[in-house]
């Protein structure tokens, strides 16, 4: 199991992997410890969301993706 992600440490430009396998890039972080704003880079479950920006719930974040 991966480490619990501290959402307050997520800065714009960092990439995250979500529990459903999607990958998103942080756009902004309100630092409330609950949500981040991120843009979908890929989504195996729902490809239609790719490119869109959404609020991502902290407990939906599986891990930080290492810089490519």
């Amino acid at each position: 199991m991966s480490e619990l992600v501290n959402t307050r440490a997520l800065a714009p430009g960092m990439q995250i992997v979500l529990v459903d396998g999607a990958v998103a890039e942080i756009v902004s972080n309100p630092l409330d410890g609950v949500w981040v704003f991120a843009r979908y880079l890929s989504s195996p479950v729902d490809p239609s969301v790719v490119g869109s920006e959404e609020m991502i719930f902290a407990q939906d974040i599986a891990e930080i993706r290492a810089a490519p």
Partner: protein
Amino acid sequence: MTATAGSGYREGLVDLARGQVSREIFVNDQIYAQEQERLFARAWLFVGHESQIPNPGDFFVSGMGEESVILCRDRPTGQARGLKAHGEIHVFLNSCRHRGMKVCRYDEGNTPVFTCPYHGWSYGTDGKLVGVPYFREAYHSKLDRAQWGLVEVAQLANYKGAIWATWDPAAPSFTEYLGDFARYLDLTLETWDGDDSGVEVLGGIQKWLIPCNWKFPAENFSGDSYHNISHRSVDLVGIGPSGGSGRRDMREREMARRLQVSFYERGHQTGVYVLPQGQPTPPAYAHSPVVSEYFTHCEEQRRRRKGEWGRVIGSPGEVFPNIALHPRQPRTIAVWHPRGAHQTECWRWYFVDKAAPREVKDFLRDYYIRYSGPAGMTEQDDMENWNYAHAASRGVIARRHPYSYEQGQGSEIENYEWQGLRIPGTVMDITEAKSSEHNLRNLYRRWAEFMEAENWDELATWRRNDRDIVRAAE
């Protein structure tokens, strides 16, 4: 006694004919509970000043009665960025729609969202519900987010930079609520020279608790000059801006007519000083040549812009029900937030002309805080009085004996005029009488009306008078 809504306030607990007010209205928990519904849920209340939230996303957590509210200026959230103009001012109930947790527990700041720390519901600064954890999984995407935004006040008014709000959609507009009292409120909210550059809040907001009913300070600021004896020690020390004894510059007051002004149908009241015609305002703020010159210049400009009205100098007053004005020396607004029948949370804002020189603002800050607030020498006197007056009024024996409000009964003057200046409102000239409880009676007159009236049709009595005038003309 029983405090049943709809009867017993006028000619009972508040007996203006005899000039008596029952102690029950200060110490009775049942009456306190009714005040929340009948006064604070219906009246216009002061929330803050636009200078506290200059940028999109800025917020200030304030209060309306017992409710915590968020005053904020909206900004784009997530994908909405750049799609529409933002910067609109809102006032929201600071309570999550899901389980009621406060969505903002900071005093002030800047944020893109207000997130509830309990279950994670998140709201944009426009109040819309933008984040629901497990929206797809747990709610199957069926929760109607548009129905679950933050609760917003029914009406909001930005009056000369001051933000006012009411929960009651049936309340009259704020300017109608004020009536001609607006001219007196302007003495606090307009620049001292009367131009359009505006005022701003100086420093932080002072907040503190006093063990007394909120109506003690509300009454005091309505125009109780009878209690000046309790400030004698401060006057002996001399904390004014020009040295010597006293807590203010007094020359301008000593040459003026001293008036109490009430608005019977609105419940607002204030003291004012009216300078003689053709007399310039005497110099003040002698401790600092820069400040003294600034105010001399402002007074000249004010006379030029305001004409005869420039002869009016503001004194403590009260916008009904719980907003205290202090237009000059110091210049401040206080709100007496009810926190149970036996406790009041005082919040005090200080104002300066936005365009005033730095040295003027610094000087005024020092003067203001040695006068007012929890550490202010004058306000400490007041707090001691309210504290012990309340405590000594709670017992079953004490409650049987009403307070006396008989000063000046029957001496009120309509259409008061002095040396070519007509003064709006019903006036008591206390230049020779020294003191009156005219304004205090007005506070309780309106209080009793609010406690008995079922709706704004009953409360907006001036509309009936207008209709009577129209009918008479027909």
